[in-house]
């Protein structure tokens, strides 16, 4: 029992980070129908910025806020510099632009900060908490707590604010939204900015546990993408569920069966689910987006 709980806690912590990345995919996808392959690199930008701003002597709380701001700005710049100018491009060209942006961000990080790994202290210390035979670092609670808070905040944003409703309307039907007077370029800008900030949040809360590194976005982006598709592209509930399912399954696999094929779990899972539910767990069925 103790072991099971341990695997569960581990899985939920990792799963929360996947969920945050998946949410970023969702935001951008809903607004633009683009899969943003630079989403994992937003996470890197957040983590690296936080580490280096702190190293410059800025107090932690302020450094974290600045890092999230830089993440948001990166998202906005990606939209302004890469997506908006490519007005006539199809989805696949836009994907390649985001791949280019991902490599560009990695390149910038390499030049600015080098290829090393960096860490920072946990927000509330690093002394492990033990209960019921389960061990966790306080930062795990931060990761889980912040993820929950973000899901709630996003929910409120989309249901209670004008801007949020505009974003939602655009995601359902961009042409109709335009007819209703919604400025879709603002919606896109906000979505990319939010995705960038969200990625950076993931970066700063993860760094004390997982460290940060100029190439950390590669695998994280891939897992986040899997989580987003698992849940059904565009569904926020799905993204969170997808992330958690992925994290928990991986931890259980490593704990109970074998760690050799732990990484394959994600991909076997996604193939099985897509074969039986071609639009993911929470995706809209029968809608073909061309």
């Amino acid at each position: 029992m103790g072991e099971f709980l341990q695997y569960l806690v581990t899985g939920i912590t990792i799963g929360s980070t996947f969920a945050l990345v998946a949410l970023g995919f969702c935001l951008v996808y809903n607004a633009s129908h683009v899969i943003n392959f630079a989403q994992g690199d937003f996470v890197m930008v957040g983590g690296m910025s936080a580490v280096f701003i702190m190293a410059a002597g800025v107090p932690m709380a302020l450094a974290l806020l600045l890092a999230v701001g830089i993440g948001g700005l990166t998202g906005v710049l990606l939209y302004k510099g890469g997506i908006q100018p490519a007005k006539n491009a199809d989805a696949i060209q836009l994907i390649i632009i985001t791949v280019g942006a991902a490599l560009f961000l990695r390149g910038v990080a390499q030049v600015l900060w080098g290829t090393g790994y960096f860490s920072m202290p946990g927000f509330t210390g690093d002394a492990p908490i033990r209960f019921l035979g389960v061990v966790m670092v306080p930062q795990s609670l931060w990761v889980i707590g912040v993820t929950v808070a973000i899901v709630v905040a996003l929910g409120l944003f989309f249901t209670r604010t004008r801007l949020g409703k505009a974003v939602l309307a655009t995601s359902y039907n961009s042409d109709a939204a335009k007819l209703m007077g919604i400025d879709t370029s603002v919606v896109l800008l906000v979505s990319f900015g939010l995705a960038g900030a969200l990625g950076a949040v993931a970066g700063v809360i993860m760094t004390p546990i997982t460290f940060t590194h100029y190439e950390m976005g590669v695998m994280l982006g891939l897992k986040g993408f899997v989580a987003a598709v698992l849940g059904g592209l565009g569904s926020f509930v799905g993204a969170v569920a997808g992330g958690l399912i992925l994290g928990i399954t991986e931890a259980m696999m490593a704990g109970y069966i074998s760690s050799d094929y732990k990484d394959a779990v994600a991909f076997v899972l996604i193939l099985l689910i897509l074969f039986f539910m071609p639009s993911g767990l929470f995706g809209q069925r029968g809608v073909e987006r061309v």
């Binding site: 632009i97 280019g100 560009f104 390499q110 394959a264 076997v268």
Partner: protein
């Protein structure tokens, strides 16, 4: 929308048998005549301008990539089915061939055939369930399949040598061991020309028109009585088989293979070659393979700024030439010519 009215960009401008050949320009700019002639001439004269181990190596890598990308373009550019796992077929073909030839002493060509056969089998089995999916779900499924193959190649080190890869015995055909780069060049050039010719004929055939209709709209293609699933599967299996064949030849040529040949980044690279050169353009596929194979070699002058520049180049080309290099230039030239 009927199948033959679908206008695709680039050199694919339909010169279907039976279609009326309009002007000399159509002939010059067609993939069947102009593109083909340009390719053959370029391949014939290239050896006059290059020399040495390294330059021939680059030429050979371009030939290998171009052949893979032409076949992939049939799937991505013509049929509109994005695959983010294609490198896995390349890698699996390479490993299948290498393991049989090196560890089990199979004759080289038999090993190659078996490697290709294995991939064709896997692709044929997976084609139906995977190609049922649409858009990003399809992309995800191909990515997943690719990653599973990649992880197996990495993990089963008793068979594959693990993440550090394995050495491959040189290609031996009828008692003759192929080391010489010039021989490799001509063999691979011939394969590229053959692949190009097959692709031209596919795109000009009823199958090709069906494929293009698919890209336009599956519903329309369905309505016009085309068996959508059948053709999608056909092209999927073909492109996987070609990737496997080239993977096997690459393994023999380079004498070494690692799992990264089957990895995600290599898959992305192949798709980028298709899109950068020009979707649904056969000449574009060759140009895309040429540029992206050589690009990193030129970017080394930027040292630590290399990745940054690479990313920038990808973004700029896609922003300013979303149709890809060849269709964009093609359109430009035709406009100038009137």
């Amino acid at each position: 929308m009927s199948a033959n009215s679908v206008e695709t960009t680039g050199d694919a401008v339909a010169l279907a048998p039976g279609a009326r050949v309009q002007t000399w320009k159509d002939v010059v700019f067609s993939a069947r005549y102009g593109g083909f002639a340009a390719l053959v001439v370029a391949l014939l004269i290239t050896p006059l301008f290059i020399d040495g181990l390294y330059q021939f190596d680059m030429a050979i890598l371009v030939l290998i990539n171009a052949t893979v990308v032409i076949a992939l373009n049939l799937l991505v550019g013509y049929a509109g089915q994005v695959s983010l796992g294609h490198a896995a077929f390349f890698g699996l073909g390479g490993y299948g061939t290498a393991i049989l030839a090196t560890q089990h002493d199979w004759p080289a060509l038999l090993a190659l055939a078996a490697g290709v056969g294995l991939v064709v089998l896997i692709a044929a089995v997976m084609a139906r369930p995977i190609l049922r999916l649409k858009g990003y779900y399809l992309a995800m499924a191909t990515l997943g399949l690719g990653m599973i193959i990649y992880l197996i190649l990495t993990q089963e080190s008793w068979l594959t040598g693990g993440p550090d890869g394995m050495s491959v015995a040189p290609l031996e055909v009828f008692g003759y061991t192929v080391f010489d780069e010039l021989v490799w060049y001509w063999v691979l050039a011939a394969i590229l020309v053959l692949m190009y010719w097959i692709a031209v004929n596919i795109t000009d055939s009823p199958v090709g028109r069906a494929l293009r209709a698919l890209h336009g709209s599956e519903v329309a293609a369905d309505n016009s009585g085309i068996n959508v699933n059948h053709y999608k599967s056909l092209v999927f299996v073909l492109s996987a088989g070609v990737a496997a064949l080239m993977g096997g030849l690459y393994a023999f040529y380079s004498g070494f293979i690692t799992p990264s040949q089957a990895g995600f980044m290599h898959s992305i690279e192949l798709v980028v070659m298709v899109v950068l050169g020009g979707m649904a353009s056969l000449v574009g596929a060759v140009v895309g393979a040429l540029l992206l194979t050589l690009l990193p070699q030129y970017l080394v002058v930027f040292a630590e700024y290399e990745w940054l520049m690479y990313g920038l180049v990808l973004m700029l080309v896609m922003i300013f030439m979303p149709k890809g290099l060849v269709p964009t230039l093609h359109g430009l030239i035709r406009r100038v010519l009137g």
